[in-house]
């Protein structure tokens, strides 16, 4: 397959899984908006507005993670219920093109949530060249590792119902428990160590630091970037070696 054909396949997959389903059911667009906005609402009300910025930065990270959990369900459904993946395997479409196309298509569903958060982000006065670059880079990495994790997990699920069980657990361990919606300093020392096991801790640290919600010395920022990149690379390697395109 030439590069032009690969691009054509990629955009067709984005259209097929990301754009056309919304035409059939526009409520899909609100789906990824629900959880982050609920958290934002709750946190803002409880903290009398003090934690609104954490609701915004946390909401962005949760949105990108939700892209991964959505992808996990779609991949499992397409593989087992519709045998769509089998149709794709027995075609010129290569595995990386399929994964990239499906991961990009899930991004389409995140656009309304991201738009809401960008508006609040701008109104709150967090827009600087540095903050935009850090937030965008961080979100791309979160989307990357969430997609790689989703592709790996989807390989092992035998039924889409299993994904319903895993998705809340992923949210719990990657979004709710780690300091995504609050500063890491709010945790006791032992919990801060435990929180370091989650890649979202580093993502949240970078985003919170970039908008001035928590202090982030340059050296610490470098470490956060390094660890987040390592996590992302690790999840990609996991997907490359463990996810199955051809069954054994």
């Amino acid at each position: 397959m030439s590069a032009r054909h690969r691009l054509r396949s990629l955009f067709t997959l984005v259209l097929l899984n990301g754009v056309i389903p919304i035409r059939t059911q526009p409520l899909y667009l609100l789906n990824l908006l629900a959880s982050p906005l609920s958290f934002l609402f709750f946190i803002t009300i409880v903290s009398h507005g003090t934690y609104l910025p954490f609701g915004v930065t946390g909401g962005m990270i949760l949105t990108m993670l939700s892209v991964g959990t959505g992808l996990q369900s779609d991949l499992t459904h397409y593989r087992h219920d519709l045998k769509f993946q089998d149709i794709v395997v027995a075609s010129p479409v290569e595995a990386p093109v399929y994964v990239a196309g499906m991961a990009l298509s899930e991004l389409v569903y995140s656009l309304p949530a991201l738009a809401v958060f960008v508006v609040i982000f701008t109104i709150e006065g967090y827009v600087t060249v540095l903050s935009v670059a850090v937030v965008a880079g961080t979100l791309v990495l979160v989307w990357g590792f969430a997609s790689a994790l989703a592709f790996t997990l989807a390989t092992y699920f035998q039924d889409v119902r299993e994904t319903f069980m895993f998705s809340p657990l992923i949210s719990l361990f990657l979004t709710v428990l780690p300091p995504v919606y609050y500063p890491i300093a709010a945790l006791p020392a032992w919990a801060q160590v435990a929180a370091r096991l989650s890649p979202t801790t580093y993502a949240a640290g970078l985003v919170q630091g970039a908008v001035g919600l928590a202090p982030l010395p340059f050296s610490e920022a470098l470490i956060d970037w390094g660890v987040l990149l390592a996590f992302t690379a690790g999840f990609f390697l996991l997907a490359a070696f463990k996810a199955r395109w051809k069954e054994p």
Partner: protein, 313 residues
């Protein structure tokens, strides 16, 4: 004629098989290119496993499989660029329209817009789907969904098509439309590997057939070859009063509504026909159908199993 598929000593044991039972065992097969090749067998005989291995979805455990001149283990990319497949029990994405299912599949394979449009239009037309082209798949009957998948792969540019039970759930008219599309595709010198439960379909479409039973190749050849290789290549239907005891020495007798069905050899068939006419009994005589061959071979296999189980107990 070059082979589209060449299989030598193919063996497949699924990793999750706790007893290590082989889904395919020492299978040797050669599928000529540019023809329709039928693969028949009972549920669980190994047909789908064979199709999945040849279409690069599943790794073989042992043996050598060459598809379009390329090894399935080492040259998957070369094979995938030239094949298309409708897996068993596959369904089109429910939120697409009929036209989108075909068109987007072709685009996904890398065809340009104009070519995809032209092929989509032709395929929908050929399978009488044009009037349904703007309907969502979720609103279609099971038969129309299956027909849409047939249109999808038949419209492709693939040299080798794997159709795993393509007409399941179709009404007789729709089945014949799919048959005609398959025949037309094969006239374009493309190869079609067809697995089916409908033996009339296998017989009507296939130039060669393979019967797989318990993962092993039991019979292979043209429909005429297969008839020549069974114990009783003729079937005689007798309607009316005729003693069963007089028929039994000639072959295998089965009771049917209002008479008997006898499977026998040619000379014996003539003899029975002569006797039946003497008794003024209605009779029809002809070569066995593929279904008869299937039941004969598979029936023997079931009998052997029962005998083994009986001996063990």
């Amino acid at each position: 004629m070059p082979s589209a598929i060449r299989v030598e000593h193919l063996r497949k044991v699924y990793p999750q098989s706790t007893r290590g039972v082989a889904a395919l065992e020492d299978l040797n097969l050669e599928v000529p290119s540019g023809r329709v090749y039928g693969l028949i067998g009972r549920n669980g005989a190994g047909k789908t496993t064979f199709v999945r291995i040849c279409s690069t979805q599943l790794a073989p455990t042992a043996g050598r499989v060459e598809v379009l001149g390329h090894d399935v283990d080492r040259e998957e990319r070369e094979i995938r660029s030239r094949i298309a497949c409708i897996p068993q029990e596959s369904r089109p994405l429910y939120f697409l329209t009929v036209e989108e299912v075909v068109y987007l599949y072709l685009k996904m394979r890398g065809l340009d817009r104009a070519e995809s449009r032209r092929r989509t239009r032709d395929a929908l037309d050929e399978l009488s789907l044009t009037e349904h082209r703007n309907r969502l798949v979720s609103r279609l009957s099971g038969g129309l969904r299956r027909r849409t998948l047939c249109a999808m792969v038949l419209a492709s540019d693939a040299d080798l098509l794997f159709l795993d039970e393509p007409t399941t759930g179709l009404d007789p008219i729709a089945r014949r439309e799919v048959w005609e599309a398959i025949r037309r595709t094969s006239r374009e010198h493309r190869t079609i590997m067809l697995t089916t439960h409908y033996l009339d379909e296998a017989e009507a479409l296939s130039t060669r057939l393979a019967l797989v039973e318990r993962g092993r190749l039991v019979l292979e050849g043209t429909p005429a070859d297969l008839r020549g290789r069974v114990r009783y290549p003729y079937r005689v239907t007798i309607q009316g009063s005729f003693p069963r005891a007089e028929l039994e020495p000639y072959g295998r007798v089965t009771e049917i509504e209002g008479g008997w069905l006898l499977f026998t050899r040619e000379a014996e068939a003539r003899e029975v026909a002569r006797r039946a006419l003497e008794r003024n009994v209605r009779l029809s005589l002809g070569p066995v159908s593929l279904e008869d061959i299937f039941l004969d071979v598979v029936g023997r296999s079931i009998d052997e199993d029962s005998a083994t189980e009986g001996a063990e107990t």
